[in-house]
């Protein structure tokens, strides 16, 4: 719902906007979906000018259709499969974590989610020599444990240290900090700054529920809205920059009716990611 502003496209002047607003047309959607002849009469604007503006707006704001075959080719060339370091887990995931996808790890407390995340980070950093971003929201990231895992996989000390340097850890303890960190990541990747960051392939988020849980329930639906924002951000990051994104969480039953969180059960995962 983009609001019409002067300079949004050539031909859209401030006077035009005031006239349109006086007749109830405030946003791009309003403009594009209205009957231009009618508008031209009511606002006493030139019909040709309005049509020209509409054409430009449509070109600017609509999405391009894509050919299925092109999409498939692009997918084949840009998707990488990252081994998780555990052969049985790889088998379960059909040979590993796919970039461009969000793979969520769910489990009860103490079941090993952080351990699996550390293992995946170690495997990608050491085995594939790719960079890893580890977003830690529980304080559960223990570098000594990661070091133990690396030591088990290789004896070469230099390789171990290099692998450690390729894993960047960002501690985010509430939802806004997390969203800021993701925005920063997006900026960095889209500007393609060649920094110490290097080629990033994996983003681990441990855990999502720690930052979302304090907001769920009660009468405000803010928690659900933020959760949806977060999930959309993770999915678009994964797709646009060919990353494998791994959030972890706990299974929770949400009563969507009044937004209450029921006692978590181990039966069905219902968290919306």
């Amino acid at each position: 719902m983009v609001v019409l502003r002067a300079g949004l496209c050539p031909g859209l002047t401030e006077d035009m906007i005031q006239l349109l607003r006086a007749n109830g047309i405030r946003t791009v959607v309003d403009f594009v979906s209205s009957d231009l002849e009618d508008v031209a009469q009511k606002c006493s604007l030139s019909y040709k000018a309005l049509v020209a503006v509409r054409r430009v707006l449509l070109a600017q704001f609509s999405a391009f259709p894509a050919n299925g075959a092109d999409l498939y080719e692009e997918l084949k060339s840009s998707t990488a499969i990252l081994p998780t370091g555990s052969p049985s887990l790889d088998q379960l995931l059909d040979s590993g974590l796919y970039t461009g996808e969000v793979t969520e790890l769910m489990g009860a407390p103490g079941s090993g989610k952080t351990q699996v995340c550390l293992g995946i980070a170690a495997s990608v950093s050491l085995g594939l020599k790719q960079h890893v971003l580890f977003l830690d929201s529980t304080g559960g990231f223990t570098a000594s444990r990661l070091y133990q895992m690396l030591q088990a996989q290789t004896e070469d000390e230099e390789e171990q240290l290099e692998a450690l340097q390729r894993i960047q850890v960002v501690r985010v303890f509430n939802i806004y900090e997390l969203l800021s960190a993701l925005q920063e990541l997006r900026d960095r990747l889209s500007q393609q700054v060649v920094s110490s960051m290097g080629p990033l392939k994996l983003v681990v988020l441990d855990s999502v529920s720690a930052v979302i849980y304090p907001l769920l329930g009660g009468r405000q639906s803010e928690g659900l809205a933020l959760m949806m924002q977060l999930s959309r951000e993770l999915k678009t990051l994964a797709r646009e920059f060919s990353l494998a994104v791994v959030p972890t969480g706990i299974q929770v039953e949400l009563d969507i009716g009044n937004g209450d969180v029921l006692e978590p059960s181990l039966v069905t995962p219902t968290q919306g990611l």
Partner: protein, 380 residues
């Protein structure tokens, strides 16, 4: 081909910024989507378009500008600055960090050296098993000078159950001072003598900051004010909350509110632990989970709370081993980042059986497997 638009920080959606819900609803109704649009309008235009006062508009714009300018504007190293590190830097930090020893070598072993700083440790157990005693011991042990292997810190003790007994702390402190004197005599080093001058009973007691909270509101308020307190007392290295379950278990009708409050509390505590390099120790009660054929004793406060702590210790009486005059205490570390060996969830279980002056059996348990005795060692 999908269009990959380069989106600078200004294109950040308003939904991701910390604005009040009412304000956000008005902005959405008026058609604002990104931060850039908001900043373009300016405070006067904004207040006119969505019908708020100019001061409110200025405030909102300031919040937006602060968030979008990001970390360049924030002072480095202060609380709230990004906590960005490479794993190598964190490893170096962890290796130089000390532990708070518990004076029970078996427990210290299972914890990998002692209670870790910057992490939350939860101690669960049946009533009378020794949770408060362990907390009082830790409040004394955190003050042990560095030359004796301690972290030379101070302690904050938040008591919700009223089980803190000063005379017991005096006993513990006196024994600790005595222990350090013996070490100093055996080793005869200069810094030991100097440290012992300040490590006295009065000093130990005066560096335990005691707070008594009677209900959950007081507890939440206390934790909320804690960062300010810790900023003034920067030597605090331990925060104990003895009885996190008690204020939340009785008299709470709205369970979803309880979950929300507890999770918010957990996040606040982890921020405190991280920013002030302190260990946070919580004690929890046990409750019975009634299953289909049997009932088990599990930590209270529900499963979502289980994720709050980094390390969880469960203590209970063991009546299975041979009856003896010494009591047996089982330590169960339910989750810890320190397991050596394979990290696959279904496979790790090690049973270590040790005995010390109080006979104890320790085992690390995973939820879905059977227990198998793997190694057996006796420490006198």
């Amino acid at each position: 081909l999908s269009r990959c638009r380069c989106i600078p920080a200004m294109q950040r959606e308003l939904g991701t910024l910390p604005l009040a819900p009412a304000l956000r609803a008005r902005l959405a109704a008026a058609g604002f989507q990104t931060a850039q649009e908001l900043l373009d309008t300016g405070p006067c235009g904004l207040s006119k378009e969505i019908g708020i006062s100019r001061e409110e508009a200025l405030e909102a714009l300031q919040v937006v500008r602060q968030e979008c300018d990001g970390n360049a504007a924030r002072p480095a190293g202060g609380p709230g600055a990004t906590r960005k590190f490479t794993a190598l830097e964190l490893l170096e930090e962890e290796q130089t960090q000390g532990f708070i020893i518990t004076f029970c070598s078996a427990l210290d072993n299972i914890l990998g050296g002692g209670v870790q700083l910057t992490k939350i440790t939860e101690i669960c157990g049946a009533p009378g098993v020794g949770k408060t005693q362990l907390c009082m011991q830790l409040a004394v042990d955190v003050q042990i000078p560095e030359c004796f292997g301690g972290v030379a810190g101070e302690a904050v003790f938040i008591d919700t159950e009223g089980s803190f007994m000063v005379d017991r702390v005096v006993d513990i402190a006196a024994a600790c001072v005595q222990h350090c004197h013996l070490i100093a005599e055996a080793q005869q080093e200069e810094d030991h003598q100097k440290a012992l001058e300040t490590f006295s009973l009065e000093n130990i007691l005066s560096h335990i900051y005691y707070f008594r909270c009677r209900d959950y509101t007081e507890l939440l308020a206390q934790v909320y004010l804690l960062p300010e307190f810790l900023a003034e007392h920067s030597k605090v290295r331990l925060v104990v909350i003895d009885g996190i379950a008690f204020p939340f278990r009785h008299d709470f009708e709205d369970l979803s509110l309880r979950t929300r409050l507890l999770n918010g509390l957990a996040q606040q505590l982890i921020i405190i632990a991280n920013d002030h390099k302190a260990a946070v120790v919580l004690t929890n009660q046990m409750t019975t989970r009634i299953g289909q054929s049997q009932s088990t004793l599990v930590p209270a406060l529900g499963e979502s709370w289980g994720h709050a702590a980094t390390v969880r210790l469960i203590l209970h009486w063991d009546n299975r081993l041979e009856p003896s005059k010494n009591c047996e205490i089982l330590f169960v570390a339910m989750r810890s980042s320190l397991f050596p060996g394979s990290f696959l969830p279904s496979l790790y279980h090690k049973v270590i059986s040790l005995s010390c002056s109080v006979k104890c059996v320790l085992y690390i348990m995973s939820p879905c497997s059977t227990l198998r005795l793997k190694s057996h060692a006796v420490i006198p």
